[in-house]
């Protein structure tokens, strides 16, 4: 094909393929290749985990993301999230805004990206990142959003027929002066809230919900974070139906201690983000 990249490999795509398949592509204008991760599929195999949890995930010792949540293990590598639900995650840019900072060399203006990520089926994350290029800010914010992904518990308003569609109980989240309360709603109500929390709730997979907001809701960053905090609380609140005794299971580090001792070499130094 006349349009194909010439032999010589110059047409290598830099940057992994995001969930929309749109974030890759070589940066034009001769600005250098940027820090790429190689072609799409190869990027998966390229992941060298540096945390114990990462190693366990990579080698298939952990079956679901929910196992990690069960033991409240901190997730420090976004590839872990990608491994389990990467293909169903959709990101959405909530806002790009300019921020100014006074430095020794004068005033610096940068782009700040607010990004929400979710699979519309029980997982939601939020991230914020600054950079001089919009694309870099968005990419960085997506990574932070992935690291912040939490499970979302859905419940019923009345009869337990069909799939869960609303929050299981009233939950409240707070950030700064903004307090957000999520209240169960009957099926068909939809999401009754301001635009930004509405997006988050939709991306979390909540179909029907009332909201009640207090404080300076004009501070949309705090508003979003308070909503996220409220959504995260759905699994934090122990409702009566969860009172049943469950058998204790071993935490992954304990269960796979031998495996880790053999296969995991802790890497020193900071990882480049």
């Amino acid at each position: 094909m006349a349009d194909a990249a010439p032999a010589g490999g110059r047409g290598a795509f830099r940057g992994g393929f995001g969930s929309r398949g749109g974030r890759g592509g070589q940066r034009g204008r001769g600005r250098g290749r940027g820090r790429g991760r190689g072609r799409g599929k190869e990027a998966e195999k390229e992941w060298i985990p540096i945390t114990k949890l990462g190693r366990l995930v990579r080698d298939g010792k952990i079956r679901t993301l929910e196992e990690i949540y069960l033991f409240s293990l901190p997730i420090k590598e976004f590839e872990i999230i990608d491994f389990f639900i990467g293909s169903s995650l959709k990101d959405e840019v909530l806002k790009i805004m300019p921020v100014q900072k006074q430095t020794r060399a004068g005033q610096r203006t940068r782009f700040k990206a607010f990004v929400a990520i979710g699979d519309s089926n029980g997982h939601i994350g939020l991230g914020v990142k600054c950079s001089k290029e919009v694309a870099t800010a968005i990419r960085g914010a997506i990574i932070l959003a992935k690291l912040s992904v939490v499970p979302v518990r859905r419940g019923y308003w009345g009869n337990k027929i069909g799939k869960p569609h609303t929050v299981p109980c009233k939950v409240t989240g707070k950030c700064g002066s903004v307090q957000v309360r999520l209240i169960p709603a009957p099926r068909g109500t939809g999401i009754v809230s301001a635009p930004v929390p509405k997006k988050l709730l939709q991306m979390a997979g909540i179909e029907d919900c009332y909201t009640s907001a207090r404080g300076s809701t004009g501070t949309l960053g705090n508003f979003a974070k308070a909503t996220y905090a409220a959504i995260a609380k759905t699994y934090a609140y122990l409702t009566p139906d969860l009172w049943k005794e469950m058998p204790l299971t071993k935490a992954p580090y304990q269960e796979f201690a031998d495996f880790l001792a053999k296969n995991h070499r802790p890497v020193g130094g900071q990882r480049e983000s």
Binding site: R20, G21, G28, I96, V99, T109, C130, E133, N222
Partner: protein
Amino acid sequence: MRNVFFCECLCAMNSDWNPDRKDMDAFGPLTFSHSSKNAFHRIFKDEKIASCLFCTKTFVLPQDKTLFSTHLFRCHQFKIADTEKIASVSMYCEYWRSRFQTEPPEKICSRMISDTRDDGSRVSFLLLGDFVPEDKKLREDLQNKQLRWALRQQTIEREDKSFSRGCLMCRLQFIGCRADYLCHLSLLHNLQLGRPENLVFVDELLDLIELKIRSLQCLFCSKIFKNQIVLKEHMRKKQHKKINPKDTEFDKFYMINYLEVGKDWRQIQNEPDDELSNVENSDGYVSDGDWSDWQEDEDPVVCLFCDISSTFDNILSHMNDAHGFDFTRICVETVMDFYQQVKVVNYVRRQVYTGHCPCCNETLPNREKLLEHMNVKNHFVMPQKQLWDHPEYFFPTYENDSFLCHLNDCHDDIAELHLTQQMKEKCQVGSC
């Protein structure tokens, strides 16, 4: 503190006001259409007419840039410093033009003496630049406005999913979002324009590229070729299917050039990105600084009875003052829980929309008569429970009705009140 104004809100109602409509089936989603905020009236377009600060002569920028500065110097002995660092020279001139009518330029600008010319003479002139605090602020203001304008445009382009264009390089009729089309160009045709998130005015960019290709001109080196086939072969072989970084014609399509006007994008690129470094706060959440700098106007709340809209607290006062309807007091008195309040609001909204009194259900021909009736008959009261306590009123009558997003559960409020009361008493007993 921001002033909050009551503003008239136009309820986007169906064109026919049908007071006889007693049927309960859906009349389609209703919406409030709020008066639009004062957006930018000026747009930073390519060509702008700039008028001289002192006389009536006008110039078209950017073409007449040199002519303009020459005119200013020769005819008015005036010079503007660093014009390339001004986001909009025409707006800048407009500002100073009116400013100099109230205060003479000699008081603001600095007097300078030029270098000795060929004929041995020296000219004195006035220089205006950012050493004047007012000027510096103006420049920063214009820069900021332009950046926000570009970001707004970019947001529109990012969210628009109905972009439609015939591909420049193949027969595909593309429909979707611009980012996906740019990826198509990159992946299938190897046309590298950069990451879609860094681009703005994409339609114009594509038009420009299409123009160049149709005129048989190479995108990168600008050479002209005999025909399309030769051109495409050249661009493929020489890897010229990208934009020349030195070509300033394309500067306006890249967001980085709006960050700091006058600064070369390469310089910005070389600055370290980690100055605004990661902050890990107490709960281990890694973020980039704070979340509180994203400020926007709160969504306005519309009065239950008339078209006034404002913040929730203002609307509560308004309903009390103008209609004698103290919503908070009524809810607390009847100890309404959250769901009951939701139903009442949706009920009242529906009644008011269809022209019925929420209290006695009497039909009135228009909104004015309705409010008059309610006033006269003292019907600005909580309607009886059997009127609104139906499951259909769980569903919002209006889409995006922000009134519903500010309701507080009175039970919870009372419980909280009791709790704080108990704690107070405990403390008092303890301290005795």
